[in-house]
Symmetry: C2
Subunit: 431 residues, 2 copies
């Protein structure tokens, strides 16, 4: 439709941080860009856990892609699942048909790594998709509803016990938000329940939470979580899950009706089937310009690109993906198309942050050599995250929701929706 | 929990307009009130169709019940399905166990009437539940996504054809909102699609739309809908549905991938099994004080209460339910408990309204004998509906969403969520 033969086609797979920013930066330079994603929206994954605790509505962290690219005539969007990449034919195979490319930007993101444990995969909630986060919100509230008419105290205790695996930023942030939800909001909503019995465990295999953060910040985070009532278990792993019975490697048995998994990521099926050299974690080893060594017309950005910098792998975070997306757009436009020189990709770490609760966060900002905790870190977190949300409406509503919650302890979304009933029926009927 | 034997127990079944207002009005008078609903929220059903068109987020039209009743210590909430009423034992049976009552207020609302047609029931969307409205929003957007890569022009036409059955307020309001979504918003989002081919049919068995409204308002509504491109078919019914092929009684065949049913309501299973005299539509015939003739301790309010007034049945709308809820609370508190005289229930019609689109609505206000159309009716509609939403946050966000949409033609929620893919796969693969 309106495409002319001399416009080269760039196909961008994935509309996460990497793909979205690649498509934006490619636009306006005489290329014909096709953005492909299974969802019709860009998802702000770092705030998914706030959908799970009812602090934000689903639509607040999602930006409809057709709206985002409405004014850019050279970017088209296709909602499809990409099943395969045929590097030789320069073609991707999707459930909406095959698509040829001149340049390919692969930014599929990662999926949750359950380390091959099917029982955990079937039972655990994770933080990757919007539907799953909304389902977790419904599930958490559902557990308290069921606890009000539990058959016996043991069942009630299990319904009010939450086990979070993974002490990285996602696990820490969710544990903090869940603890505040239980302590401040649900304690009032469920006045008839013995809420002091509600238990939140945070399990981490390493000797500390938030491993990549400076030591002082890690200790602060743990202290704040414990003050909120979260039971932090370090140096241990989940060894077995059978229904609501979870066994830890250190011998502890915990009966929890809710298992949340934030303990690692792995390559999605599309990358697993890609015929290219892989590094650890199934990531694709890329050249200094983020292209495949044997296929300079194919680029990988974000979680699935493996590249070391100063002896360390570039981390799997939003920032490297955004910078990678911008970078490959430059390489395609300036180097590949116009023969200009573009220096190798270099990730500039603007800092990492994690919020633990109301007025409590940690922020490590290498640019200014700052290591912040408490309300200052929290204020920076708030401004940065509001700014990053897509769309004026989402920023205003998120600001309103957070403000209202901070003042009134009333997260706005406390609805049990979707088919949680069937999913959890097994647990409540086991007694 | 804290209940004393001399406090009589009032069980209220259903937290819609009738039940919610009964429970509120019963509170604070030495009674022990239990509100039972399958959902943990009160749903503002008249605006469900706006969730289906993306104009409002799901949480904006739902108020969490535990939050609503937090400060009322004498009202408890139980999230459960009520399966049966045992009038003799004065007990309701729920999936959370049996519950005894001294007084029972039945306010279960109604379910959609498909007139026994299973094919329609399986395929059609309706406006009764929050999940279904969100699923319809995802479905509508999904149809346009699929239309961008349809196998042939006939399939594309079917994907862009929407058949709405029922010309009452719900059908009219949804048809108008859908037409505006397609004309203003999706036309820009799907620039590659021939959007002038998108078709919206509104089918009604009676000779006019909005049957209970005054004649001038009915004609205005039809004219405005037609100006928006809606094809109104009066005096006809759906005779058969087979996949996406819909046949009308007047002989027309329409190929539509979307069927929306707003053509009538009937009694929910709970009322069907209730051992009490029924009137037309499976509604329960009630005494002048809305109680059962043989069981003065049991009341029915809302859609399921059948009572004639001035020779006409009281309509199945939000207002009679709200007034009925307030009324039975008075009867229980003052007449049954204190022996005071309470006059029979009398419904006071404050007026009916329907919005057709931007700045276009009809309002019949009998109190002032006003029959309004256009921007004045629309402004009244807006104020009344904003006022009726539960909660400060929801009013502000709805105002923001409507304002933004009116100015920018950008409804805030354009996300395809949930499992629409499987549901509609059959249609797209039939070609």
């Amino acid at each position: 439709v309106g495409e002319t033969a001399h416009h080269k086609r760039v196909v961008v797979v994935g509309a996460g941080f990497g793909g979205l920013n690649a498509a934006k930066r490619l636009s306006g330079h005489g290329l014909n860009i096709l953005l492909v994603d299974r969802n019709n929206y860009h998802l702000f994954v770092p705030l998914l856990y706030q959908v799970a605790t009812g602090n934000l509505g689903e639509e607040e962290i999602a930006g409809p892609l057709r709206q985002i690219f409405r004014t850019r005539r050279d970017v088209r969007f296709l909602r499809a699942n990409v099943q395969q990449v045929d590097l030789k034919q320069r073609q991707i195979v999707t459930d909406a048909g095959p698509i040829d490319y001149d340049y390919l930007v692969l930014a599929p993101g990662s999926v949750t790594n359950y380390f091959g444990n099917r029982a955990i995969q079937q039972q655990a909630y994770d933080f990757k998709a919007l539907d799953d986060a909304a389902a977790l919100r419904s599930h958490v509230l559902d557990m308290f509803e069921r606890a009000t008419h539990a058959a016996n105290p043991e069942q009630q205790q299990a319904l009010m016990t939450f086990l979070i695996v993974g002490g990285g930023p996602t696990g820490v942030e969710f544990a903090g938000a869940l603890a505040e939800l239980v302590r401040h909001t649900l304690r009032r909503d469920y006045a008839q329940l013995p809420m002091q019995q509600a238990k939140i465990y945070l399990v981490e295999g390493l000797p500390s939470l938030l491993a990549p953060f400076p030591d002082r910040l890690r200790q602060y985070a743990q202290r704040r979580l414990e003050r909120l009532g979260v039971e932090v278990r370090l140096n241990t792993l989940v060894s077995a899950v059978e229904g609501e019975h979870v066994q830890l490697k250190d011998g502890t048995n915990i009966r929890a009706a809710t298992l949340v998994w934030a303990a690692g990521v792995q390559a999605p099926p599309l990358i697993e089937t890609l015929d290219a050299p892989k590094a650890c974690g199934g990531r694709v080893s890329v050249a200094p310009d983020l292209s495949l060594v044997d296929h300079p017309e194919v680029f990988v950005v974000g979680d699935m690109a493996y590249r070391e910098q100063d002896g360390q792998p570039i981390p799997q975070l939003a920032q490297p993906a955004i910078q990678g997306g911008h970078y490959v757009a430059e390489v395609i436009r300036r180097q590949r198309e116009r023969g200009e020189q573009v220096p190798p990709f270099r990730y500039h770490d603007p800092g990492t942050m994690a919020v633990i609760g109301r007025f409590a966060a940690v922020a490590a900002l290498p640019v200014l050599s700052l290591k912040l905790t408490g309300i200052v870190a929290w204020a920076i977190w708030l401004v940065v995250h509001l700014y990053q949300l897509v769309g004026f409406r989402n920023r205003i509503v998120a600001m309103l929701d957070w403000g209202y919650d901070y003042v009134r302890f009333d997260p706005p979304v406390r609805l049990i929706t979707g088919g949680t009933a069937e999913q959890t029926l097994a647990i409540s009927q086991k007694e």
